[in-house]
Amino acid sequence: MTDAKAVIAARAAGELRDGQIINLGIGLPTLIANYVADDIDVVIQTENGAIGVGPRPQHGCEDRDRANAGNQPISLIPGGSYFDSATSFGMIRGGHVDSTFLGTLQVDEEGNIANWIVPGKMLAGMGGAMDLVTGAKIVHIVTEHVAKDGTSKLMKRCTFPLTGAKECDVIITERAVFRRSPDKGFVLAEVARGYTLDDIAACTEMSYTVADDLKLDAFGGEA
């Protein structure tokens, strides 16, 4: 397992708890569903209006009226159902979704998230991300640790327009896991195989402290 995205998705799946309701953002976060442990049952909500999202339907069974927010065909597990957008965001904003996993452009030491617009580039829009980071009980940012130009995506202060202020609870990269506590800010909890504490310090712009029970070789890399 050497692909960074696969490492991140697999580690993110380890955050899941039995019985949780989760929402997975488009792209990398969607991959998390592939790594859910056998003894864990989670229920996946998609903000365009379905809950209990199951595997991709068998070839030939795709249906224009059954898709997720990324327009990929879906099936429902037993107990799943469909609803309208106002109800969907009532669930999300109302704290009925336990956990969301979102990719990002930037995240900073205050927990600010910037993942919807790069100034000067083509506008896509925030979609449901602002509602998700505001409403979900636990907000996980899942992202590669550094940008393509080598700079840290975990910054002192986001420079792009924010998606949410002080909303990020957990950051999961292919190199480390950080958890934010109300008094101490982000705390480095885990370092992936193949990285040292110094490696993480060198590629992380934001301030953080190191957990007393820090786990080294915690995930990823060659087992």
Binding site: T46, E47, N48, G49, A50, E62, D63, R64, D65, R66, A67, N68, A69, N71, Q72, P73, I74, Y82, F83, D84, S85, A86, S88, F89, I92, R93, N112, W116, I117, M122, L123, A124, G125, M126, G127, G128, A129, M130, D131, T134, G135, P161, L162, T163, G164, A165, K166
Partner: protein, 231 residues
């Protein structure tokens, strides 16, 4: 007996005039009212303001009206699935107002329900605050968002009856439910049309009280269905 509202698409769409505001249901192709949009493409209207989650998918949806320069402004949560909208914006031919998805849905619901507005925590601390009134309640800050009322709504349902009771299918329900409530004139295209009393009284998603005209979907939607979906 409740009124029969089934009319042909041209008569229904003749209510759309230049300069109007229009709420459109659908979500990147799921439940988009393509029969109504196809009709609008043939009409001589301009300066429309569109409220919709997105601009459609690829080159199909309200993006087609943007290409025809019929639209001056689109209020949406996401236009990333229709590059032509980004191009039009960058070239100054179109104004795009990005709006959080839940806020946009609630604006439509609120307008349809006769409320003046609502207080949302979504967007606090972001540019979504800009130009908005902030209300503090019990130590929490909220954005005051005004309810939306529009001239016309264009929506699509799977099943409908002659009075305009509608049943959606799967994730094609989305914004169609709220868009149906907030307009002075609501046009619904339906794939399957039933006589009164055939739909389950306990399972109607949009009550006919909200709908002004019912139009049969043409094959346009089916063509899209055959195209399959991207991954």
């Amino acid at each position: 007996m409740p009124k029969n509202k089934v009319i042909n698409v041209e008569d229904a769409m003749s209510h759309v005039k230049s300069g109007m505001s229009i709420a459109v249901g659908g979500f990147i192709g799921q439940g988009d009212p393509l029969t109504l949009i196809d009709c609008l493409k043939t009409m001589d209207v301009s300066d429309l303001t569109i409220y919709e989650n997105d601009g459609g998918y690829g080159d199909r949806g309200t993006v087609e009206l943007v290409r025809q320069e019929k639209v001056k402004r689109i209020v949406a949560s996401h236009v990333g699935t229709t590059p032509e909208i980004g191009n039009a914006m960058n070239e100054g031919r179109l104004e795009v107002v990005p709006t959080p998805q839940g806020t946009l849905a609630e604006m439509m619901r609120c307008g349809g329900a006769g409320l003046g507005g609502f207080l949302t925590p979504t967007g606090i601390g972001t540019i979504a605050e800009e130009g908005k009134q902030i209300v503090e309640l019990n130590g929490r800050r909220f954005i005051l968002v005004e309810a939306l009322r529009v001239d016309v709504a264009l929506i699509r349902a799977h099943s409908g009856d002659t009075w305009g009771n509608l049943v959606y299918r799967g994730t094609s329900r989305n914004f169609n439910v709220v868009a149906a409530t907030c307009a002075d004139y609501v046009i619904a295209e339906v794939e399957d049309l039933y006589t009164l009393g055939e739909l389950d009284t306990n399972s109607i998603h949009t009550c006919g009280i909200f709908v002004d005209a019912v139009v049969r979907s043409n094959s346009g939607y089916c063509v899209l269905r055959e195209e399959g979906l991207d991954d």
